[in-house]
């Protein structure tokens, strides 16, 4: 039973080592290729590979936990896990509540995806976006009608079943979905640049851990491993360091 539960939830990398060094990495697990739960039931994706490498360089024992996007910040500040590594863009509002490490993904464009055979005015139509994302904020400010969903997957479903005219999300998330939709979906508008890069969220009181993470991220930028990872998980023309 114990074994099954383990396999079910998240892979526990942590073994022996000093207990103060066990860092719980919080992610959403529903935003491929950033982070998702693979068929083994483990957290997988760009951020899993990145996080494991950061922990290795910072000599930390890391264990992965998932939490739904909506309550991902409240659960960080109340101490249920120690970092948010979930494709979270740095914004001023978030920075007031939590701290961010150095960015590990450069600012990358967002895109509108709609049905390939329809015509959409993204400034006036009904646009789907995930709750509490920079994209949702952008849609609300753009004059279009915003419909919010709790998970990224539901925003795509809303476009497919006609509930929304288009969805606004990170292009790296949308590109594989468009490519595999068999011609049903397409990018329907120009890309938009919103928000800063993506970084790990930390508690403001955790300065020491943040410094360790920053050092690891910087060393990965310096020796090019971060660029290799970005190229592996994201589309060809995704921005690099």
């Amino acid at each position: 039973m114990k074994k099954l539960l383990l396999a079910a939830a998240v892979s526990a990398l942590a073994t022996g080592a000093a207990w103060a060094d066990t860092v719980r990495m919080g992610t959403e697990g529903a935003y491929p290729p950033y982070n998702f739960i693979n068929d083994k039931g483990e957290v997988d994706g760009f951020e899993r590979e990145l996080g494991d490498e950061i922990c290795k360089r910072a000599e930390l024992d890391c264990t992965w936990v998932t939490n739904e996007w909506d309550s991902i910040i409240p659960n960080l500040v109340s101490g249920n896990y120690d970092t948010i590594i979930a494709g979270m863009s740095v914004t001023a509002e978030r920075d007031e509540v939590i701290d961010f490490t150095n960015e590990y993904i450069p600012p990358s464009p967002s895109g509108y995806v709609g049905l390939a055979d329809g015509s959409v005015d993204v400034m006036k139509g009904i646009i789907a976006a995930q709750t509490n994302t920079i994209q949702a904020g952008h849609v609300a400010a753009s004059g279009a009608t915003l419909v919010e969903f709790a998970t990224p997957d539901e925003t795509i479903a809303a476009v497919k079943n006609g509930e929304a005219d288009a969805v606004l999300a990170d292009k790296d998330f949308l590109a594989p979905i468009v490519a595999e939709s068999g011609g049903m979906l397409a990018f329907v508008s120009d890309d938009v640049a919103i928000g800063g890069g993506v970084a790990m969220g930390m508690r403001e009181s955790d300065g020491e851990l943040k410094a360790k993470m920053n050092a690891a991220i910087d060393s990965m930028k310096a020796d090019g491993t971060l660029n290799t990872m970005l190229a592996k998980w994201f589309e060809e023309n995704a921005p690099q360091w």
Partner: protein
Amino acid sequence: MFEICADPRSLEGLTWLSCYLTTPKHSAMYFSILTVLGMLLAVVPPILMLGFAGALARRSKIAPIRWFGLGYTSIVRGVPDIVFFLFFPIALDQAVEYIRHKIKCSDVLEPIYQGNDFVVCQAAKMPLGTSDQFYHEAWGFSLAVITFAIVFGAFTANTLHGALNAVPKGQLETARAFGMSERQTFWRVHMPQMWVYALPGLSNLWMILIKATPLLFLLGVKDIVYWAKELGSMKTQVYAYAHPDWRVWYFLALLVFYLFLTWISQRVFDRIFARASRGMAVAT
């Protein structure tokens, strides 16, 4: 799982499906059926205990106990479930960690509330940061059981309170006339007859409890509805088993599961009711 499943992309048809349905992720969903059933069973004793305590408190001759019983049932029944489920477990979790911090780390001078952060020392974490994921899940499960027990205990208290009041007064007067003490009257006459009036209400509560189990996800316990959503959603080639949006099939399976559960429950309740109404003048 099996040898043939080593390379999912090369599989087709039934082989693909059988490999797909036996991935560890699917096992997690099958296992979550046990989580849901286990929760339902674990939560019944505390619900009945709280229900009885609440009902008896409301009948108490001592005013403060009566007020307490009335306050508990009224307040908990009045607060929307979802608010209660969002607030209470976090508050309980923080309260436990707060107390552990005060006991175990009395030498730490930094405040626990630092701006937005709730910071307790590592030794006060519940469960410890180093604990196996199993203990984190078990702790979340326990918080869920306590929360469900408090919410449904209040409804049960009200049902039992009503049922105790519904037993005809003549029955109790007759018992006293036979020379039974208060205690004997309660346990031999009042309680056994109360069940007939309580059971319809209790069976309602049980059905609502079954349907409320998806609230488990709010408490961080991954239940069967969560897994159905997660597994059913569209999977791109990044996953080993890519497939389009299959949520409708997973939800159909959920429908069958929940209907089966309620159907079984109804049959059990029918039997209990038949037993409770033996020798009672009920119109059946």
